[in-house]
């Protein structure tokens, strides 16, 4: 098992290179699936970061926070305020977003980590729901309530100086706007290479690398020990609280980073980002992908966002064009059959898939990949060692 937790450096390097290539080639890989447009690519990267951060807490320590969306929301609000007050350059916005959500996580984590198990989950849930309810109503001067915090024409933006009157400025990185997109016609598809996406992608890669380092570090090992048997640790005289609190704050800062990136790509922060359903979503992403694995959370995030954005847009017209090659009668039958599962029924498909995956792939999507991988490798009859992600999925219990 030690080998599994600390696989060879070479394996990690391979994993990292693989991850970098896949992320950077995102616009090309995803274009055939209809997901190669900037907004969704950005969302994949951002929610990937969010899920990676959540996994550091949940995957390693087993503490199930049900209020992580609060940190995402706080990150977004802080970032938008920076964009409003200081500059449309995203750097100060991201820094403030991460710092504020880190502080927020410190306070909430300090209080909530006094309890464990479901009591911890409910404490985090309670804090997040309070934040959501107040942001929607009483805190409207800060959060702009129902409408969400937006940038306005008459915001000060003290560092930016004069922008063109009557025109809203764009979020940028030292002058390069986030929505700068190079469109390339390639084999009948339009590939969209968007600056904002590559900005998020670089941060995603860094975030992934950091989480890899944490997983492999003595600190990571300590966190796994907490998950395995906290009592035994306590009896041996180790105070686990600082470790879990550090993990909580780190994952809160990841969430804040994701939130401020959301605001940097699209300067709006809405209260529903903090609702319990949003907290639940990240939990689902991580479990779906495979809790405790490195790649799983990113996969889970992509999976859920893909359904939300692509499946919900399939209406009967699209269905008819799909099945257009069939004879008329059969085409209509197919459309009727598929209809309940797409468009306004996308939730139904998602729910069914949740159930199917958890029933048939107890380790999440990563387990599915590992099974396939093992089949391939066993056919070749080579004794390749486990990929890092597989082994990490089930720390000894």
């Amino acid at each position: 098992m030690t080998n599994a937790i600390f696989p060879s450096k070479a394996n990690d390097r391979l994993l990292m290179i693989f991850f970098i290539i896949v992320v950077l080639a995102g616009p090309i890989i995803l274009a055939p699936f209809g997901a190669g447009y900037p907004d969704l690519l950005q969302r994949f990267a951002i929610f990937g970061i969010f899920a990676i951060g959540f996994n550091i807490l949940f995957g390693l320590t087993g503490y199930l926070s049900f209020g992580h969306a609060a940190f995402l929301g706080v990150g977004s609000y802080s970032a938008v305020w920076m964009l409003k007050l200081l500059s449309m350059n995203v750097i100060p916005a991201i820094i403030l977003g991460v710092v504020i959500s880190g502080l927020f996580a410190l306070v909430i984590g300090y209080v909530s980590l006094r309890r464990s198990g479901i009591y911890f989950s409910i404490l985090t849930l309670a804090f997040a729901q309070m934040s959501y309810n107040l942001a929607y109503s009483v805190f409207t001067p800060i959060t702009n309530g129902e409408t969400g915090l937006q940038i306005l024409l008459d915001d000060p933006r003290v560092l930016d100086g004069g922008t063109k009157p009557g025109e809203l400025p764009l979020t940028n990185l030292f002058g390069i706007p986030m929505n700068a997109t190079q469109k390339v016609e390639f084999l009948g598809m339009t590939l969209q290479f968007n600056f904002g996406f590559y900005f998020c992608a670089v941060i995603l890669i860094l975030a992934f690398y950091l989480s890899l380092r944490i997983f492999r570090s003595p600190f990571g090992l300590m966190l796994r020990a907490v998950k395995t048997n906290q009592n035994r640790l306590n009896y041996t005289g180790v105070n686990t609280r600082p470790y879990t609190l550090a993990a909580f704050v780190i994952s809160g800062m990841y969430a804040g980073l994701a939130g401020s990136l959301l605001a940097s790509m699209d300067p709006l922060a809405g209260a529903e980002r903090m609702q319990w359903t949003a907290s639940g979503e990240v939990v689902l992403m991580v479990i779906l992908g495979g809790a405790g694995t490195l790649l799983g959370p990113v996969l889970g995030a992509g999976f859920i966002k893909y359904f939300e954005n692509i499946f919900s847009k399939i209406n009967d017209n699209v269905l008819h064009s799909w099945f257009a090659f069939m004879p008329d009668g059969l085409e209509n039958v197919m459309v009727t059959l598929v209809h309940p599962f797409v468009g306004k029924g996308w939730h139904l498909t998602l729910g069914l898939l949740f159930m199917a995956i958890v029933i048939f792939l107890p380790g999440g999507l990563m387990e599915g990949f590992n099974r396939i991988w093992r089949k391939i490798t066993s056919k070749r009859e080579t004794a390749t060692s486990d990929t890092s992600s597989d082994a990490a999925s089930t720390p000894a219990e």
Partner: protein, 342 residues
């Protein structure tokens, strides 16, 4: 004084709904150790039993009236419920009392739903991590509510209480207060009494029957009970069915207060988790006590006098109380050590 009495009444009423849902949830938590995110959906299905019965009772005979056209030019329809055609006044009465009558439908339906869920799905998840339980039951909840949405749409569907019980009574006058000081709807009083009866019945069942004794023993130490050669699994299936039925009838009776819609389960889900945990994991009296406590505090928090001092307090009171209780009492009001703490 009368204002406070009024809010206590409100709190008891709200609390009885919370307590009933939490009771079912904690039965599942405590006996089976399963985090059931589909519990809200059970409440919703119960409520839709009432809708279904009402739809069946009001199945209408449609006669096309070619004399009168609708605004869009098709013949208008004259509809008469079959129940009235066949049974006359009794039919009309039956339609009027469709909500209480649907309890008779809801109990078997919910038992079947509960058994199927436990045997078909939950059973396979006893030994799986809580995370997997959450994912699978959440998936199930989504599927159930989407199915209901496909049949009944997204809008709330009104379920009036029986004509005779729709009025309200002036309790204030009975207690010697001024007129109009404490006015309370009859149906809500019925709901409170109903909840008290159900809660009492469940407790009596667990306390005074052998079956209940075994289940309580199983809640305390499942392994030992299993070693004693008792088939705890069958009893747990029954418990799941019972929990589903309790939640379902709570949903049926709640429909005149809250017109049901497909996502009402999700609205109650978080709340009843909070209630159960505040009450203490694995404690039935705790869940009931927490339900009433949170209901009453929520009602007080919505009083103008309190809102003017602490604006927005009614938005967060439940969660605030949860935080305070969990920090002062590590296992909630009446929780036991070792349940769901790993």
């Amino acid at each position: 004084m009368d204002a406070i009495l009024l809010q206590i009444l409100n709190g008891l009423d709200k609390g009885s709904a919370y307590a009933l849902i939490a009771l079912g949830l904690t039965l599942i938590f405590g006996t089976l150790g399963v985090v059931n995110f589909a519990h809200g959906a059970l409440f919703m299905i119960g409520a839709f039993c009432a809708v279904v019965l009402q739809k069946i009772l009001t199945l209408q005979k449609v006669v096309l009236d070619n004399e009168n056209l609708t605004a869009w030019g098709t013949p208008s329809e004259i509809k008469t419920p079959y129940a009235e055609i066949w049974f006359g006044d009794f039919g009309a009465k039956l339609i009027d009392y469709s909500v209480p009558v649907s309890i008779l439908l809801a109990i078997p339906v919910m038992l079947i739903v509960g058994f199927t869920m436990e045997r078909g799905l939950i059973k396979h998840f006893y030994k799986r991590p809580h995370a997997d339980q959450i994912l699978v039951t959440f998936g199930l909840a989504i599927v159930l509510q989407e199915i209901v949405k496909a049949f009944f749409g997204a809008n709330p569907i009104p379920q009036p209480a029986p004509e005779a019980l729709r009025s309200s009574v002036d309790i204030g006058v009975m207690l010697g207060f001024a007129e109009n000081a404490i006015i309370y709807p009859v149906w809500r009083l019925i709901y409170f009494v109903f909840a008290a009866l159900i809660i009492g019945a469940v407790f009596a069942f667990l306390q005074f029957t052998t079956f209940g004794m075994v289940v309580r023993a199983g809640m305390a130490d499942r392994e030992t009970v299993g070693l004693l050669g008792i088939n705890i699994d069958r009893r747990f299936t029954l418990m799941f069915g019972l929990a589903a039925a309790v939640t379902g009838v709570a949903g049926v009776m709640y429909t005149p207060i809250l017109p049901p819609n497909y996502h009402m389960g999700m609205d109650f889900l978080v709340l009843c988790f909070v209630v159960v945990v505040v009450g203490g994991m694995g404690s039935l009296p705790g869940a009931v006590a927490a339900g009433f406590l949170l209901g009453i505090l929520e009602s007080f928090a919505s009083m103008n006098e309190i809102k003017s001092i602490l604006p927005g307090i009614d938005q967060i009171i439940i969660y605030l109380v949860a935080v305070v209780i969990l920090l002062t009492r590590p296992r909630g009001l009446l929780g036991r050590k070792g349940v769901m703490e790993e």
